[in-house]
């Protein structure tokens, strides 16, 4: 029987399935945190969450509001410091990270600094990198959870805050970033996107239930290629939705937004 679900629930469930057991993920608040908690309660009980301000291995009982608040080390392994997290990233101990942004381009480069105007006098200023550039520089696999529309998915980001594949194959390494690190998946309300290994350009890997390939393309400001192994996303299962609604976010702080 098909269950009703909203876009956020779908994105959280899909993101959760991409996290493997016995791995380390640096997470932000909101969707990434919900995806991590769901994974821990289903297929990845030994997945360890690390937060930017230092918390490691929390047995999350409540969604944190800040990546530095006390929830991020609730019944955890260590409360740590920001240097502990950043150093673990830099020395290659972090498998996954989750990011978002105001704009993303075909190479997975992200803008969370400003849009419109100039750097000195921006039309709309956003927070900036925070730790996003650090995560995108160092995590082995960067995942992005984001709503998809042509204003967000742009041919060229107005400001390259955090590195994707930069200008294409070999560009990260040429810039000095660690080899084999970088963009992995983009999860939107329409599809799961990945990257073509030859060109490093974003492509459609699976289309969500009830969505057409054309709809995914229409919601992007640049041409999306289709993966040769194009698949259909599995809808959230009853069990996933039950865990999400009853255990991960019972107050609907995030998933009902």
């Amino acid at each position: 029987m098909a269950c009703a679900y909203n876009d956020m629930e779908l994105m959280v469930c899909v993101a959760s399935r991409l996290l493997s057991d016995h791995s380390m993920v640096v997470v932000g608040t909101g969707g990434p945190c919900a995806a991590t908690m769901l994974a821990q309660r289903s297929h990845a009980p030994n997945l360890v969450a690390m937060f930017e301000a230092g918390g490691v291995g929390a047995q999350l009982e409540a969604l944190p509001i800040s990546v530095g608040d006390s929830r991020t080390w609730y019944r955890g392994i260590t409360s740590g410091s920001m240097a502990d997290t950043m150093n673990a990233l830099a020395r290659g101990q972090v498998d996954y990270c989750f990011l978002g942004g105001a704009q993303i381009d075909p190479f997975g480069n992200l803008n969370s600094t400003f849009v419109g105007g100039s750097y000195d006098k921006p039309k709309v200023r956003f927070p900036g990198s925070g730790g996003a550039n650090d995560l995108a520089s160092f995590a082995w696999r960067t995942m992005v959870i984001t709503p998809q529309d042509p204003r967000r998915f742009v041919e060229e980001v107005e400001f390259l805050t955090s590195p994707g594949f930069l200008t294409g194959p070999g560009a990260r390494e040429a810039a000095g970033l660690p080899p084999d690190s970088g963009p992995y998946k983009v999860i939107t309300q329409l599809a799961v996107l990945g990257y073509c290994p030859e060109t490093c350009r974003m492509r459609i890997e699976s289309v969500h239930p009830g969505v057409t390939l054309q709809q995914v393309q229409d919601a992007s400001g640049f041409e999306l290629l289709a993966s040769p192994a194009l698949a259909k996303t599995q809808a959230p299962t009853e069990q996933e939705l039950e865990l999400l609604r009853n255990e991960v976010d019972p107050e609907g702080l995030f998933i009902r937004r």
Binding site: A53, E61, S79, S81, A90, Y119, V124, F126, G128, G131
Partner: protein
């Protein structure tokens, strides 16, 4: 999209020369003497117009709210500011028009809560000069100063516009040839840090994440600490492994219970999301915001009255229960 430049175009707001910091520290008193004072005196004495300020904690977690309110109340201006995941702290200083230059890693936002309309206005107007960084880059800039160095190498920022708008310089490793961004040491004139416990000399304990506070304290020329509780030196000495910031880094100690409110104080009270949401709402209307600031900061003699205004002991008791995940059931 830009090609990586070998040198960022941002300005360095503070002197990265370690010998300048060494000369300062040679003269700074190492005397283990009581340093307890009042919020007003501490800010009058250590925060001058034009100086460069850093705040401890993590934006909405263990922040020195009481000290920052006093900076606004005393009308400080022309301040430089270290913005590493600064959320409500930057919001407070922006409300007071205190800052005119900022090393920005994370500003104007409050994480999941949204963006501060007033802090955005301040930045979008161009009134605050920015140099762009990442949280790790700012952390390592502070650590360089704390280590008595003028820079540290990092691989953060490489290949991005964040690097272009920073003041980092590319360099190559003499051993491996790898490319790094050299980030200049950052030594704030003054750090304001809120901790759980301090003794009268300034030996500080922090419960939970220390964020970057040891680096902030060690890198800064002067440090003012506010604490939830003033404790005896014997208590500190009975568990010396728990001391995070030692007295010789600290210039003044102020006891301010609930001094991080409306921020989270780990193990003590959770963030007051209702009051933080009120800030974000009222900021949309500059007139209403001016009145709000008058009621909550300018027209308030001391921090205790601010707490009273926003629910007092009942609200703080609620926030303690939220923090400790205590389900008290239905109280009649």
């Amino acid at each position: 999209m830009s090609d990586a430049l070998p040198r960022g175009i941002g300005r360095i707001f503070t002197d990265p020369d370690p010998d300048a910091l060494r000369a300062h520290h040679r003269k700074k008193s190492k005397g283990m003497v009581p340093k307890v004072t009042t919020v007003r005196t501490a800010i009058e004495r250590f925060v001058q117009d034009g100086c460069y300020l850093a705040s401890g904690g993590f934006g909405g977690v263990r922040i020195p709210t009481a000290l920052l309110h006093e900076v606004v109340r005393q009308g400080r201006s022309g301040l430089g500011f270290a913005g590493h995941t600064t959320t409500h702290d930057f919001q407070i200083l922006a409300a007071g028009n205190c800052v005119d230059r900022c090393d920005a890693a994370y500003i104007v936002g409050l994480e999941m809560r949204g963006l501060s309309p007033n802090a955005r206005r301040a930045v979008q107007s161009g009134d605050i000069e920015l140099t762009e960084w990442t949280n790790a880059a700012l952390l390592w800039r502070l650590r360089a100063a704390a280590m008595g160095l003028s820079f540290l190498p990092t691989r953060s920022m490489l290949g991005t516009d964040t690097f272009v708008q920073s003041a980092a310089v590319e360099l190559h490793c003499p051993f491996t040839g790898k490319t790094y961004a050299a980030v200049p040491a950052l030594s704030p004139d003054i750090a304001l840090i809120h901790v759980h416990r301090a003794d009268p000399y300034g030996n500080c304990q922090i419960d939970g994440s220390t964020v970057a506070d040891l680096d902030v304290a060690a890198a800064s020329r002067h440090v003012v600490v506010s604490c939830e509780q003033l404790v005896s030196s014997e208590q500190i000495r009975s568990e010396p492994d728990r001391t995070v910031i030692p007295y010789y880094m600290v210039d003044a100690v102020v006891e301010v219970p609930y001094g991080s409110y409306p921020g989270n104080m780990p193990g003590e009270y959770y963030s007051d999301e209702t009051h933080l949401a009120e800030w974000l709402t009222v900021e949309r209307d500059p007139q209403a915001f001016a009145e709000f600031l008058q009621q909550n900061i300018h027209g308030v003699e001391e921090f205790q009255s601010y707490l009273e205004r926003n629910g007092g002991i009942d609200r703080l008791r609620e926030l303690r229960r939220i923090e400790l995940l205590i389900d008290a059931g239905e109280e009649s």
